[in-house]
Subunit: 257 residues, 2 copies
């Protein structure tokens, strides 16, 4: 975060590495899209309006596909490419993107600001990216071409207690928000909207959905479509309580890398 | 370049790849320093004051050394680390850095603005990085720990016609400035200050010196220590003329990657 000329800038840099974030046989057009989308999702969680991106790119097979997908993403989100660099590297490739945005609301939403008495909300439906990754046709796009919730983030920014995007699974990101805020989240796991109720546990652990997790004062309606899934309670020994049971460790809650 | 709140932001993203920009046995503390320095050198050439950097980092051997060198560079140049990401990747590694700065003078200096009648200048002494790379003790630091000319760039910004930093060798970067400006540079190769006159040709072709190449109206003194090395003349068929001889191709002029 950077204050400049009366504006507050938000800067993010997320990378995607072959083997970790995408498979060797992935369409690089999808990888490029996702690289833009995950960075803009970070801006969305800060209620920021994107101003541009810079790309760090490892040359290799599929460069033309990458350029196609990059162009599609930049056009879809109306963001200019401001610069970047390329290298020629052997071995598995990794790509980096810096996104810069301007805060639309001060104070900038923060994952560390959840307070007891607030309600915990989540946008959208969880598990769509997981099902798409597994090949379920109606969800392939949710995995390959996620949409950063920029308008939703900006609408929420003036009202939220805490906010973050859910990239590594709902449970793990709830743990992180609660830990960062020094509170406990009491989660009603059955309240979380999931794409496949028979696999609820997987849907709330798998990541890549890029929904927004946020808190509002109890009794306040959400200004964007979202679902209340729990409450912020005073800190206990553990940051997360699921359906009445304390969670002792973040291990197994979601995707760590 | 980005206009925001009455300020003009300059953003750069340069990468360093093992095998291309550094050897597998390089001290990663030096690599980290250089990664910061080359990006800040891009800002220097725009007369910009650095505001912060974001890092994209491939984990592996020598991470602690990288962190040491990064910390030393950030302290030396008084620039904060604003964010970044890490990935774990097999194979040769590459690192990316985004630097953000604010323009200290509008219009922002540009390599495309050289005009006939101007004199071409260069700061410093060329070939120091080359000699350091080859192991000449007094120049090892010039190669491993280059200094971005931030103060010089800011002092020059209000006066220059065109400006750029010399990363890939004086001759190649003269070619690029002249091409970008649609003019011809008539260069007096004997005027260029070199660290080893017996190897003048190598000194003006090897890169990594990060000096500033700029133009001033004829008869104007440079506000920073620098040497006049030629003149901007009306465009001929070739962008570069060295000691009276047209140069037909940029091949062999410097370091291309």
């Amino acid at each position: 975060m950077l204050e400049l000329g009366g504006e507050t800038l938000i800067l993010t840099h997320d990378m995607m590495a072959q083997g970790t974030h995408f498979r060797a046989d992935a369409d690089l057009a999808d990888v490029a899209w996702k690289l833009v989308a995950v960075n803009l999702s970070d801006l969305a969680a800060k209620g920021a309006q994107p101003l541009g991106v810079l790309l760090g790119y490892s040359l290799g097979d599929g460069d033309a596909r990458f350029v196609d997908g990059l162009g599609e993403a930049l056009a879809a989100f109306d963001v200019p490419l401001l610069g970047g660099d390329t290298v020629r590297a052997a071995g598995p490739r990794s790509f980096g993107l810096t996104a810069i945005g301007r805060a639309t609301h001060i104070p900038v939403p923060d994952r560390r600001k959840a307070q007891p008495g607030e309600t915990v909300w989540i946008t959208g439906v969880l598990g769509r990216a997981m099902l798409g990754f597994e090949g379920r046709e109606e969800y392939v796009k949710a995995f390959a071409r996620p949409m950063p919730l920029l308008a939703e983030g900006a609408a929420l920014a003036p009202q939220v207690g805490a906010m973050m995007d859910v990239s590594d699974g709902l449970l793990l990101d709830c743990w992180r928000m609660a830990s960062a805020s020094g509170v406990t989240i009491a989660l009603d796991s059955m309240a979380a909207p999931v794409a496949d109720p028979a696999r609820r546990d997987d849907c709330i652990r798998w990541g890549d959905d890029y929904e927004l997790l946020f808190t509002l004062p109890a009794g306040t309606a959400s200004p964007v479509p979202a679902t209340p899934i729990g409450n912020i309670v005073p800190p206990s020994d553990y940051p997360l309580n699921i359906d009445g049971t304390d969670v002792a460790t973040p291990k197994g809650l979601g995707y760590s890398h």
